[in-house]
Amino acid sequence: AQSVTQLDSQVPVFEEAPVELRCNYSSSVSVYLFWYVQYPNQGLQLLLKYLSGSTLVKGINGFEAEFNKSQTSFHLRKPSVHISDTAEYFCAVSDSIYGGSQGNLIFGKGTKLSVKP
């Protein structure tokens, strides 16, 4: 069975500081990995995804994530955060390349990023 662990429930950082949100997964089969962001009072929005190819994936709003198969990790990073990045971030895994669009997603518990001025 697949599972996702987001190691930090809350991450406070100052504006313009770098940030890393950690995500580890467990799976016995090929995985496809996603990061979603949920801004206050809004739905989840795809930030980036890893399906195949380069292990460094770039997403929207300057975020990137690196797929590390040996460490079963998919950490999300941004070199300099803004106040507007304050949101909750969810890591998710699927064993199907279309899993993200077919309800076959396993989500982590989320990490609340709080960016302070």
Binding site: S9, N41, G43, Q45, A92, G100, L105, F107, G110
Partner: protein, 115 residues
């Protein structure tokens, strides 16, 4: 892509009552999904709703508690029946926008508090 409108955005309900949540999509979609996000927990899939057939429920969720309607390709409802405080959660609607898409699109969620 798909634009999803979910109503209500939040509600406070008395225990023992029922609440119906609506999900409207701006385009026709084959598959719609309902998720639950309990406080401090991850999103959990409740059921998959395909137009013209009964919804398929995940383990731990039953039709009597969470009846779902899917009358057409742009609309679905989820009812939370006979509510208890344990049903206090965020409920999210999600859609498969079409063939070839590899990510889901979500509504803004319904924040339900049962008192």
């Amino acid at each position: 892509s798909a634009v999803i409108s979910q109503k209500p955005s939040r509600d406070i309900c008395q225990r023992g009552t029922s609440l119906t949540i609506q999900c409207q999509v701006d385009s026709q979609v084959t598959m719609m999904f309902w998720y639950r996000q309990q406080p401090g927990q991850s999103l959990t899939l409740i059921a998959t709703a395909n137009q013209g057939s009964e919804a398929t429920y995940e383990s731990g969720f039953v039709i009597d508690k969470f009846p779902i309607s899917r009358p057409n390709l742009t609309f679905s409802t989820l009812t939370v029946s006979n509510m208890s405080p344990e049903d206090s959660s965020i409920y999210l609607c999600s859609v498969e926008p079409g063939l070839g898409f590899t990510e889901a699109f979500f509504g803004q969620g319904t924040r339900l508090t049962v008192v």
